[in-house]
């Protein structure tokens, strides 16, 4: 029983470290990447994973909070991709240019936003 508790605590610390690492890498990507779409990628994906694993680590350290934390994780999974999708779509519709090194533009290829360009 004690060994199970020790494993739980160390797994909690591990998830916390993973979460804070990804939360650190997200703003770094926002600083380093060239245009809006790449920055959106860095800002959304890394913060989603970072927040989820940090919350899960806290839930492992304090097992009483695990129910609430599952609800929080579901909420983040629901809202974060939707909002970043809305930002990226509106940026494309308002003709924010892609960076010069981009090789593919699927939206233009499939003529989805033909009138926007």
């Amino acid at each position: 029983m004690i060994i199970l508790n020790v494993i739980r605590v160390y797994a909690g610390y591990f998830f916390l470290i993973i979460g804070s690492l990804f939360l650190f890498l997200g703003p770094l990507g926002i600083l380093r990447f060239p245009d809006v779409y790449n920055r959106l990628q860095a800002g959304t994906k890394s913060t989603t994973l970072g927040a989820i694993s940090a919350l899960f680590g806290i839930g492992l350290l304090e097992p009483g909070w695990l129910g609430k934390i599952v609800i929080l994780i579901l909420f983040i999974l629901l809202t974060n991709p939707v909002s970043s999708h809305a930002i990226g779509r509106s940026a494309y519709r308002s003709k924010v240019p892609l960076c010069g090194k981009s090789v593919v533009d699927k939206c233009e290829e499939e003529h989805i936003y033909k009138e926007a360009k």
Binding site: F75, L78, T79, V82, H85, A86, R89, R93, A116
Partner: protein
């Protein structure tokens, strides 16, 4: 020239502020009035007490008349805003929102309403109250407006809720005047501390305030987002 003048004014005022604030001790004891509030917070014999949250106790019971005036000021501001915005054309949107945003909003919207209602129903037990709850409900209505261009909010329903809730506030106060001798008297008693149905008229008044503020600000959102 203007910058130099502004810097002189701000610097003088800053020195005065620094001098004054350095003479006020930080983190010392309570004032006399607050001692009365804190010591009589959960007291079975005092009709003015009962809520676990002392701030709610002060806002709704000790200063209930002030809260009535506050609600009135918010109502006047919303009315003034809709008067000034009347007849202005809004911008034409060129595209429809995508499917993902629409479905996501459809899933999220009931939970936003639930959160708002939770915040103002539990106002006497946990932090929160009528005003944040009402604003969160209005935020849900705003989300619906952002994702559906053709949505028309039921404006007459908002008006009916707002007016009837305002009347109900005054009626609760008048019942207190008849029963206990003062406006907004807590005629239901303190009840058992820590339960949902306790603290007398505080939950009733916070539900009234929350619905009124929510309907008011939803009407404001409707006025600003639609062609009037």
């Amino acid at each position: 020239m203007r910058h130099i003048f502004a810097l002189i004014v701000v610097g003088t005022l800053g020195l005065g502020l620094f001098y004054t604030l350095s003479h006020i001790p930080f983190g010392k004891g309570l004032s006399e009035v607050s001692k009365y509030y804190v010591e009589n917070a959960i007291d079975k014999n005092d009709p003015h007490a009962g809520a676990t949250n002392i701030v709610t106790d002060i806002v709704v019971l000790y200063r209930g008349f002030d809260t009535l005036g506050e609600v009135t000021v918010l109502f006047l501001a919303a009315t003034g805003l809709s008067v000034f915005f009347f007849g202005l054309k809004k911008k034409e949107y060129t595209c429809e929102p995508s499917l993902i945003v629409k479905r996501g909003t459809g899933i999220i919207f009931p939970f936003i309403l639930l959160l708002g209602v939770y915040i103002f129903v539990h106002g006497h037990l946990t932090p929160g109250g009528g005003f944040p709850g009402g604003v969160i409900i209005a935020t849900g209505v705003l989300l619906i407006y952002l994702c559906c261009r053709d949505y028309k909010a039921p404006h007459s329903l908002f008006k009916v809720i707002e007016g009837s809730m305002g009347t109900l506030f005054v009626i609760v106060g008048l019942i207190g005047l008849i029963v206990g001798g003062s406006f907004l008297f807590n005629f239901l008693g303190a009840g058992k501390t820590g339960e949902l149905v306790s603290a007398g008229i505080i939950p009733i008044l916070y539900i009234v305030i929350g619905l009124k503020v929510g309907a008011e600000l939803s009407g404001l959102v409707k006025d600003t987002m639609e062609d009037v």
